[in-house]
């Protein structure tokens, strides 16, 4: 079967939609109030070096995915251990995003409907997209990204009459320590989660620059997030933004142009669906590739459904309530350190050492 590849443009779109997949509705670092936009900018201090490590891994091992890289660096046994770790992370992250979806839909539009049917519908869509292949996912993202950006721009334009620039003041109301620790939280959710994109790194052509793809994709996502945060602060103000679970949705809800154009908050749900499904699909694809690699199964696509069902099961039991989901975010940023930072650094160091030895043995051979 012909191997499917992602072009640079599609890969950038996939990464950008992945970055603001669930953050587009959940909001980012709302606890920092008017300073939350600063945390997104500061988070890039951590994001860029970590992403450069991911890119370097892709450069050392072109057209190889995370699981092939870990086996190549640490051998079969430790490679399989790392594979298990990332299968868990892929399923876990997909379950978290799916849960965000079902909580969001239940809270804003279907309070009487149980979450399970909502989860099943969203998951089946994501599974279909995943099984269609990475090229289709890329095409989907190339359409989803402009639509999501257009919706965001339209809401900003329609909210101009509600905007109050004074909501930004006082700037730097929080201490440096608080801002830095929240910046790290912003790194772990959503930027560090892009480590799962390494699971589909084998679909990037050798001649395409991973640096261009990763940096452009993540920074486009960061820019969109920044604009969303600025919009939410200026329109909602700090107290309202902090008191709601889904600030973007509430911001769109107050749009009122001449008592004629009102209640267009559904557009925000559309954003969430377009980008959230991309994020779930990448998680499912990475986990199913990992599972196929672990058990030496030829076609990873065959493993998409079992991985999806495991995601559904985990999603059902992961949290008891929305409050628990929100409270877990602080723990989450610590819990994901091994997945997002430690293991990639180990792989990078191992990869560099192997590269040096391979280079030396080549030289001594000639």
């Amino acid at each position: 079967m012909k191997k499917q590849y992602l072009s640079v443009r599609k890969a950038v779109c996939v990464l950008a939609t992945f970055v603001f997949g669930s953050s587009v509705v959940l909001g980012v670092s709302t606890q920092m109030g008017q300073d939350s936009w600063i945390t997104v900018i500061f988070s890039q201090i951590i994001v860029v070096p970590v992403i450069l490590i991911y890119c370097r891994l892709m450069r050392i091992y072109p057209e190889k995915n995370l699981f092939e890289i870990s086996t190549a660096v640490f051998g079969k046994f430790f490679g399989d251990l790392i594979t298990i770790v990332y299968i868990w992370y892929g399923i876990y992250l997909a379950a978290l995003v799916l849960r965000n979806f079902s909580e969001f839909i239940q809270i804003v539009s279907m309070p009487e409907t149980p979450q399970l049917p909502i989860m099943i519908i969203v998951l089946l869509t994501a599974i279909y997209l995943t099984k269609s292949g990475i090229e289709t996912l890329g095409k989907w993202a190339t359409i989803a990204l402009p639509v999501a950006v257009a919706i965001m721009l339209v809401t900003i334009f329609l909210l101009l009459n509600q905007t109050d620039i004074n909501n930004f003041f006082p700037v730097l109301n929080h201490g440096a320590k608080e801002i830095m620790s929240t910046s790290y939280q912003v790194f772990s959710f959503p930027f560090g989660e892009t480590v799962l994109f390494l699971g589909v790194a084998d679909c990037i052509r050798k001649e395409d620059s991973p640096y261009k793809i990763y940096l452009l994709g993540v920074e486009v996502g960061a820019a969109i997030l920044l604009v969303i945060i600025v919009r939410n602060i200026t329109t909602l103000g700090v107290p309202l933004m902090q008191s709601v679970y889904f600030p973007s949705y509430v911001a769109a809800r107050i749009i009122n142009v001449g008592d004629f154009l009102v209640r267009i908050e559904g557009s925000i749900s559309m954003n969430f669906i377009l980008c959230g499904i991309t994020k779930i699909s990448i998680c499912l694809l990475t986990a199913s590739k990992g599972l196929a690699s672990l058990f030496r199964i030829q076609q990873p696509k065959k493993m998409v459904f079992p991985v999806g069902l495991a995601t559904l099961a985990l999603c059902c039991i992961i949290y008891r309530s929305t409050m628990e989901m929100v409270r877990f975010s602080k723990i989450y940023s610590v819990y994901v350190v091994p997945f997002q930072i430690l293991i990639p650094i180990l792989l990078w160091c191992g990869g560099e050492i192997r590269l040096r030895f391979a280079g030396k043995s080549k030289l001594s051979g000639t």
Binding site: L116, I120, L291, Q298, K302, I317, Y319, I331
Partner: protein
């Protein structure tokens, strides 16, 4: 009702995905598929009849709190 929905889902997955993908051979793939299929079926079935299954989140929280002294 939830139980009916999930049983329909699992019937669908079994007949439309499992059987066409694993007609014969590939025993390993078949066993992996069935293991995930049955484990998730059990969890979702219990969830659908309102039996609470322990979530991994409290364990993760406990480990992180003990190791890094972080409070949620």
């Amino acid at each position: 009702m939830l139980t009916v929905i999930m049983i329909i889902l699992y019937f669908g997955v079994f007949f439309l995905d499992f059987l066409p993908n694993f007609p014969s051979g590939d025993r390993k793939g078949r066993w992996v598929y069935l293991a995930f299929f049955l484990a998730s079926f059990t969890v979702i079935f219990l969830y659908s009849i309102d039996i609470m299954i322990p979530s991994p989140s409290p364990v993760i929280r406990m480990v992180v709190e003990k190791l890094f002294q972080v409070k949620a």
